[in-house]
Amino acid sequence: MSLSINLTVNGMRRKIELDDPRVTLLDLLRERLDLTGTKKGCDRGQCGACTVLLDGRRINSCLALAVSNDGAEVLTIEGLAQGEALHPVQVAFIAHDAFQCGFCTPGQIISAVGLIREGQAGDDPERVREGMSGNLCRCGAYRGITEAVLEAQRSLAQVGREEAA
């Protein structure tokens, strides 16, 4: 069975022929589109390493069938920076040592971008921690992650104010 879908991945329209409906969005990104920044940790929706934005919302790409998302827009870690300029969340992760081994980091960063877009956490560290609980970090860099998310949120709000002015 040949299944044809269209996806916009990091701003680029892609027409994709799937030879098998079992292909998850995660495997499509990593194995067929060579976008290996999105990580496969548990592959069962428990660790958050595979987090991408699907139509602007963070999801676990390991539990999404590619064929079921025809026409969707996908943002992965590779699509976040503007050329050489890192995204404010990336900058904040570096500034706050918000990682050690780095395996969970792409998922953490995309999840943080999703959390900031959702606009529910405000400047409350407890809400940030709760909102990031779907991303496990086995190195235990949670303290830096929480600080990075809070700082990125402040700098994005600053950019927003400057653009509005």
Partner: protein, 352 residues
Amino acid sequence: MNRFDYIRPATVSEAVTAAAVPGSAYLAGGTNLIDLMKGGIVSPRRLIDVSRLAGLDRIEPLPDGGVRIGARVRNADLAHDPTFSKRFPVVAEALLAGASAQLRNAATVGGNLLQRTRCAYFYDPATACNKRQPGVGCDARGGENRLHAVLGWSESCIATHPSDFCVPLVALDAVVEIEGKAGRRQVALEELHLLPGTTPERENVLAPGELVVAVRLPGAAARFATRARYLKLRERTSYAFAMVSVAACLHIEDGVIAEARLALGGVAAKPWRARAAEAALADARPNPDGFRRAAEAALAEAHPSGDNAFKIELARRIVVRALALAVAGTPERVPALPASPFAPIPGGAIHD
């Protein structure tokens, strides 16, 4: 994962027709089904993708003040809908106490109702499970079963229903709209899930191919909005299934409980409405002794299914705590840690 045919119907009636073929399963958010398929626990030959069906994605007010929630509304969208969360805050709190932000963005209302148990033996095809393979036995009996059922279980199965969302829904008299080949019917959520008995593979009253299309809450459910809480005890503070959870909803007039609603999660194969406890609370002033009597009534028929006797007393205490928090009033906003039993109780501690 097994091979399957992928079918994307354009309408509900096409979906119901497609799903009538044996071996079919509906796919919506996929957060439970794809996981189960990856584990080889279920292996449908056909997936009927209902994730984009028109008309199932709305949250609509009803003339009686209630609400009709389309089956493919995402958990996060419902929890953050300002009108819904104001009228039914206990449902929003339960939703936000479940899973992770990523999963809530994908998981749907209908899928939440029909999610499968998280019993580790059900999830492990190397073990015996009557639910997975009727008649082979239950390795959870005599196994690692401290989180298993204390109400309504049988020798065949001691698994629990894992939903948070269903707990306040069943307390608030939710009704499930179901479409099948014979047309549309509705079932009280309290009647949707089945206790295991000798057929734990039958988990609900849906006939093969029937599709949940909506969940309704009656207008009367909104009268509890100012005094309604969901509490969920888990082994870590976030992103874990309930050991025990409770939805407590009170309608107080002139200092007296005019009506109480109480339901428990994590204790049985279905969301557990505690009607005896509701009757014990009604027409009395809210006080700790009354709450304790209600908790005793709620768990009167409970008995351990293994190493889980502690869950019964834990459930009683969480009932008392949830009632005390409900009396104190629904917070303006869902707390930073939704449904956390560690939050302080306004007015002081209820026990040492």
